[in-house]
């Protein structure tokens, strides 16, 4: 499983990577997961259903992440805004 974070000026960065079946690596993944959530990030798990549809699920704890998930993507939480006027 990979934990990725979207980052301005960079694209995604790899925060942590490990096998959830190995306790030591799972612990590292959980710690990294908590750090991001504590920093105010949202966590999404992209997935693909049996009919081939791509979806995403927001998760609030590591326990909610499917064990077979390949990636968890962290991104800054949404904020209402009007960033700039139309060009």
């Amino acid at each position: 499983m990979k934990l990725l974070r979207l980052k301005p000026g960079h694209g995604e960065i790899l925060l942590a990577e490990g096998d959830v079946e190995l306790p030591e690596q799972e612990r590292e993944l959980i710690e990294a997961f908590r750090r991001e959530l504590d920093a105010g990030m949202w966590a999404a798990v992209p997935s693909e259903s049996r009919d081939g549809r791509r979806r995403a699920e927001l998760v609030k704890s590591f326990a909610d992440v499917p064990r077979d998930a390949e990636r968890v993507i962290f991104f800054p939480r949404a904020a209402g805004g009007a960033p700039r006027s139309a060009r």
Partner: protein
């Protein structure tokens, strides 16, 4: 005599201060503004177009790996994504009662696919307050991916976080109508089936 002179001097100082106070306040405001402007310019000087291009390239690859191939092609060819609304009938599927257009760093636009009628703009951003390279803005395709993931996963939450406005607040409605026409044409050309019936054109 000295007491009278002292009192007069005191009154004079107070009067002068009262006269000068608005100018002093304005000068302080200008000083603060110029400091803000200096900080902004400094941040812009840190802008590196090569780095931003590489970031956008990475973001496009990630977006491509997350959305369906058809949606990726739509974004690549048209510059926006359409996501079917999930809260009405036939949710998140072709034929849904409403849909969204996702533009990078622009509001999400809700519209009725069957008529092309524009419903509203949802202004939402994903600011990274750590500002790793002096900017809180994600690369364009990461912004689209964040909106897509949030809409797919929890549409109600994202919409509740956004500021809702009538169409035309930030994006010219004519541009959106043109985009809907382009989308219909694109779907016909790619054989995906024109699911949007745009009468507004």
């Amino acid at each position: 005599m000295p007491l009278a002179l002292g009192t007069a001097a005191l009154v004079l100082v107070v009067l002068l201060w009262e006269l000068a106070r608005p100018r002093v306040i304005r000068a302080l405001a200008r000083l603060r503004e110029s400091r803000r402007e200096r900080r902004r310019v400094t941040a812009e000087i840190g802008f590196d177009p090569g780095r931003e291009r590489r970031a956008e390239q990475r973001a496009r690859e990630l977006l491509r790996s997350c959305v369906e191939e058809r949606d990726w092609a739509m974004y690549r060819d048209l510059g926006f994504l359409r996501v079917w609304g999930g809260l009405g009938e036939r949710s998140q599927a072709p034929g849904a009662s409403y849909a969204y257009l996702i533009y990078p760093h622009r509001p999400i636009v809700a519209y009725v696919p069957q008529t092309g009628a524009l419903l509203s703009e949802y202004c939402v951003a994903f600011p990274d307050h750590s500002r790793p390279y002096g900017s809180a803005r994600l690369p364009d395709s990461d912004d689209v991916l964040a909106k897509w993931m949030a809409l797919q996963a929890d549409e109600r939450r994202l919409i509740s976080e956004a500021n809702m406005h009538l169409p035309g607040r930030q994006i010219d409605p004519e541009r959106i109508r043109r985009d809907l026409v382009r989308l219909s044409a694109w779907e016909r050309e790619t054989g995906e089936g024109a699911t949007d019936i745009v009468r507004a054109a």
